[in-house]
Symmetry: C2
């Protein structure tokens, strides 16, 4: 029986730029239902005392080069390195949750990454949120106001606790029938597990 | 023109267990020359203030689960989690360098990982070095003595500086014609780049 894929992400992840662009088509072709799970990965990083990409390190320089290489193979031409990190990522994750509740979560996420990686507007900033929300037919004022509501924050806290409970420590991650797959490169393995 | 692959590794890397087992066949089938480059990744981690796998973290638990899953797909049955980290890794890397100079670098590396991941003897410890060296026809006393020589240490320091200069920050890494690929999962991309 085909299982669903839970797509655990933060809108502030760099590699998730690649995943957002391809996960819809990949799951669609495989007939795998896709469930969006935005969460506060930054909280989990803080708890672990870990931050993956500090400025001007070999790891971070490689990360941008690697994303550029993968994007090129996908026919994408982002302007890299993009500004990073994105301090307003928690707000972006709450917006992702609200956009998903309106049925346009993935479309919005892609639009937000285009604003960030192609136009240089950081995730969660007004210059990113307004055009990306408009692009998917949502009212920016309405969604941004709802993103400040305690109920929205509580929903993200619940998701983040669920991520902790599942042992999620990075993003994007894929959870399929009790198995965890970490990283954009493991999307195919997650889909294979969902359809086996 | 087919390019060679430089295989940058530390004998103390966990994911390198998988790479050691498959890189010889993968390069052989593709007709890609393979050059072994052991180096002191631990020094580079220290300089970066970074250690990837602390005990009892979600990241480390996932790492062992992920290696077990990949090993199973390769028909391997290691006993995991293996003891980790391996404090004698620098010695193991000097032994790798010397074994490679004798033409059995990769064979020794595989034997050392079998000792570590299947028999529970940490990389670089006597209980690992002696059987793994014997398994590839080398004299343990002779190689272990040579591994303490200043010239061997100097060779590793030179390799480690070359790794720094190439922006290498993790292992296994593959360097092909000026392009860096990090991680066991990227071996296929490295081979594709070498044969394009």
């Amino acid at each position: 029986m085909t299982q669903q894929i839970e797509y655990w992400f933060t809108a502030g992840s760099t590699y998730n730029y690649l995943t957002a662009q391809r996960i819809g088509q990949a799951c669609g072709q495989a007939g795998v239902p896709l469930v969006l799970k935005p969460f506060y990965l930054g909280d989990i990083f803080k708890e672990a005392g870990f931050w993956p990409f500090h400025p001007d390190t070999a790891r971070t320089r490689y990360m941008w080069h690697d994303i550029a290489r993968s994007a090129s193979q996908m026919g994408l031409s982002p302007t890299l390195p993009a500004p990073y990190p994105a301090p307003q990522t928690p707000l972006a994750n709450r917006v992702a949750f609200l956009a998903d509740a309106q049925g346009v979560g993935l479309d919005w996420l892609i639009a937000a990454y285009v604003e960030w990686f192609h136009a240089g507007h950081l995730a969660g900033e007004d210059a990113n949120l307004r055009p990306s929300l408009k692009a998917v037919g949502l009212d920016p004022d309405e969604i941004i106001a709802a993103a400040q509501e305690p109920a929205t924050e509580a929903a993200l806290q619940t998701l983040t606790q669920e991520a902790r409970d599942k042992g999620i420590f990075g993003a994007p991650s894929f959870w399929v029938d009790g198995e965890l797959f970490w990283g954009n490169d493991r999307l195919e393995a997650a889909i294979a597990h969902a359809t086996k």
